[in-house]
Amino acid sequence: MTTFNVHVTIENKPGISDPEGETILNDLVLKGTHKTVSKIKTAKMLKFTIQEKDKKSAHSKVQEICDDLRIYNPMVSKVTLDVFEN
């Protein structure tokens, strides 16, 4: 068994608005002198530490957990998984 870090990024699907990102952009960043930023999107990340036999099974295991336990709602959000060997 190997230890893997799996980073799960949960963000709103394209086309679904992200009020928090907009507020950070308009009321904070663009209020200052930082005019080169054109967009901010927020996401949430969960970093899993998991023991699995290989990268592939670490990936599929975490994906399964996220789906089963409704860690995210597929109606609104999408997840991206990145697996790193520890």
């Binding site: 086309g15 679904i16 608005s17 507020t23 109606m75």
Partner: protein
């Protein structure tokens, strides 16, 4: 989104030509059940809507009640069932947003939120647990951010909501009568869209609410933005103070299509607007998408040309969008343009008035045998059974829910959530009390008596604070109305509510119909939810601490009515039996008596008997006061019944009164004068909740232990998936 074939030919014959694509979308949105009430409208007329305190004005989205001294209270109820079933957080949150904007439209400041929540069996259904938890967070995040207290509600679980969510939200507003928006429009007035930008989210939402869940359009997800809503509230109220608003309407189901056509129809005017002027979130939106988008947090305002600049300044201050999208005309046409081109041009009354249906109804066959009871296993240990009931999700304390809601903000909350109705102080020295109640288990067994029961229970809760009911909100939630048996249950409930409202002279000041509530397993049980608003002229009854030797008295008869009770359903897993029925005369006498003894300042607290019956109601008093009580079941007024029936019957019109012994004679004399059925059934003291029958102990519980279980059962289930008993 589409029209039925027959509706399409109707539209064609009304306008004498083929509709354009955009026209089709607009009409489909507005003629959906959700916007047009086509199945229910002709029947809703039976409800009494007028009363000495009711103020009616064309175009109001909420009911308005005159509470004296130049002040008004507004009220409205909405549901967001379909959206919450697929996205509980956003669905519940935007449900709050919608009802708040209805209150705002009248020109009043929202001062309270109520939420009624219903889900499947959270004891074994993970999906139900997920829905429940996220719906609560959605309501908390939205209401808390707005700074409007959520001061009451209810939570119920029933198998019939498996894979579904019922999220009802009611709101109250308060303001000066002189500040009410008059909805009087003049020539050359301009039409302004204020608030958040218009995006593709929520397209098809109203249609979606009128479809059953299987055929849903899952793109109808709405993202809540309570921060913008808060800014809209402040901007609108400032514009109101400055006299900048001629007419106002919130954008809800059907988006701009509905708001524009209903405003035009209600005011008997025409509106010409340009979709290019709408501030959109995405650049490539089609005219029809802009018209039917249900993006949240938007208001339609009609103002005069001269006041426009000041309105724009206010929007600027609050950093919210403000687009002049069109102007008022006097041709009664809704004329939608994209730049120079016309994309739709229809008579407002055609769009806003779908042909009303007269659907057939038929008594459901299941009702023929539903009252027949089966034989139950005898109960060997009532104390153990009580522990089980106290931990059951429908009876367990809901503090885990309302503890997440800011119920103090606004500094009006005199009686806080946790007992019966909550009470708010008003600026004219009076007090307002309100509660919402539903009971699908009883409504399933008897749609008429069940609905009346919900109404009476909400009244009872309000009466327990010393308030006189002055208005009612009804929310009628049923399955597919094209099923004649379902439609029959709808009509029965409505008739029951109408009879009660007329007899008690409580006008219906608002309501909502939500049909097509179907789960993969079939239709939901009939779920009317009734809100009652009560007014207190002098002092409300704020529950006072109960001490050793205080007395417990019951008003009202206990009857053999256990159909739909928690005892039958949770303990015996039996659905059926005789549904509790309200005797109108007794109900009135009992209400009057309770208000009377509260007025005379004779009691410490009043609590009604509802879910779980007498046994649970007494336990709740004991647990919240951390004191024991000794109750004699043999002296409970009513028919002679078996012990379990006296304990757990959910008969209506019953109140538990706690008071200092020295007031006994005075209370008795008031009750005798009112000729009500009552008896002193117990006294407080010690650390045990005890029920005896002819001096034999039936139940013996430690208050502290019972309280622990009652308080923690719900969070244990929701957070840790753990059953407490």
């Amino acid at each position: 989104m589409s029209l039925e074939e027959q509706e399409l030919s109707e539209l064609k014959s009304k306008i004498g030509r083929d509709p354009t694509f955009t026209e089709l979308q607009i009409v489909a949105a507005e003629w959906s059940e959700h916007c047009s009430y086509k199945s229910s409208k002709r029947h809703l007329k039976m409800l009494p809507m007028d009363g000495p305190l009711v103020i009616t004005e064309k175009g109001y989205d909420s009911g308005v009640l005159d509470v004296g001294d130049g002040y008004v209270v507004t009220a409205h109820i909405e549901s967001h069932n379909h959206p919450s079933a697929v996205e509980p957080y956003g669905g519940a949150a935007t449900g709050v947003g919608g009802v708040i904007r209805d209150i705002l439209s009248a020109g009043t400041r929202p001062i309270a939120i109520f939420d009624g929540l219903r889900f499947g069996n959270i004891e074994n259904d993970l999906q139900a647990r997920w829905l429940f938890k996220n719906a609560v967070t959605g309501i908390a995040d939205y209401g808390n951010c707005l700074g409007i207290p959520t001061i009451g509600g209810e939570v119920e679980f029933d198998e019939c909501y498996e894979n579904y969510a019922m999220v009802d939200v009611a709101a109250l507003g308060f303001g000066k009568k002189e500040n009410l928006i008059r909805n009087h429009i003049e020539k050359d007035d301009v039409v302004v869209l204020m608030g958040g930008s218009t995006g593709r989210d929520g397209i098809g939402g109203s249609q979606f609410a009128s479809d059953s869940l299987e055929s849903e359009d899952r793109s109808a997800v709405q993202i809540p933005d309570p921060f913008i809503e808060k800014l809209i509230i402040e901007a609108v109220l400032q514009a109101r103070n400055d006299g900048l608003i001629r007419a106002m309407k919130d954008l809800g189901g059907g988006g701009l299509s509905c708001a524009v056509s209903e405003t035009a129809d209600a005011m008997e005017i025409g509106i010409e607007m340009d979709v290019d002027k709408v501030h959109t979130r995405e650049s490539d939106m089609h005219p029809d998408e802009i018209m039917v988008s249900e993006s949240q947090e938007r208001m339609l305002i009609v103002t005069s040309k001269t006041k426009l600049k000041k309105l724009e300044e206010i929007c600027n201050k609050f950093r919210i969008g403000c687009s002049v999208i069109g102007h008022v005309k006097f041709d009664n046409q809704v004329h939608i343009k994209k730049g120079k081109n016309t994309v739709a041009n229809l008579p407002a009354d055609v769009i806003a008035n779908a042909t009303l249906l007269d659907l057939p109804s038929k008594e459901p066959s299941y009702l023929k045998t539903i009252e027949t009871e089966k034989k139950f296993k005898p109960i060997s240990d009532y104390s153990k059974l009580m522990m089980k009931l106290l931990a059951s999700p429908n009876i367990a304390s809901k503090i885990w829910v309302y503890g997440q809601y800011d119920h103090e903000v606004g500094i009006r909350t005199v009686v806080k959530p946790g007992t019966d109705a909550s009470v708010l102080r008003l600026d004219n020295g009076k007090y307002l009390s309100a509660k919402i109640d539903g009971n699908p288990k009883q409504c399933y067994i008897n749609p008429r008596e069940g609905a009346i029961g919900c109404f009476e229970e909400a009244c009872r809760n309000v009466v327990c604070t010393g308030a006189k009911p002055i208005g009612m909100l009804d929310h009628l939630q049923f399955g597919n109305p094209n099923d004649s048996e379902i439609f029959w249950t709808f009509l029965e409930s409505l008739k029951g509510l109408t009879d009660f409202a007329k007899s008690f002279e409580i006008p219906c000041v608002g309501g909502k119909v939500s049909l097509y509530n179907e789960t993969p397993a079939g239709p939901i049980k009939p779920t009317p939810v009734i809100g009652v608003i009560g007014l207190i002229d002098k002092k409300p009854s704020v529950p006072k601490r109960i001490f050793e030797n205080d007395c417990l008295l019951i008003i009202g008869d206990t009857k053999d009515e256990l159909g739909g009770s928690e005892y039958f359903e949770y303990i015996h897993k039996f659905v059926g039996g005789k549904c509790p029925a309200v005797n109108f005369e007794d109900s009135k006498k009992n209400m009057r008596s309770v208000i009377d003894i509260i007025d005379k300042n004779l009691i410490k607290s009043a609590h009604d008997c509802s879910k779980g019956g007498l046994a649970i109601a007494v336990s709740e008093i004991c647990m919240t006061n951390q004191i024991g009580c000794n109750v004699s079941l043999d002296v409970v007024p009513g028919e002679k019944l078996d012990v379990d029936r006296v304990l757990f019957s959910e008969s209506h019109s019953r109140y538990l009164i706690s008071f200092d012994k020295k007031n006994l004679a005075k209370i008795e004399s008031v009750l005798k004068k009112n000729n009500v059925s009552f008896n002193q059934i117990g006294h407080f003291g010690g650390e045990k909740i005890q029920f005896n029958n002819n001096s034999k102990s039936v139940i013996d519980l430690n208050v502290e232990k019972a309280n622990e279980i009652w308080l923690h059962a719900l969070p244990n289930l929701v957070l840790h998936g753990k059953k407490t008993v």
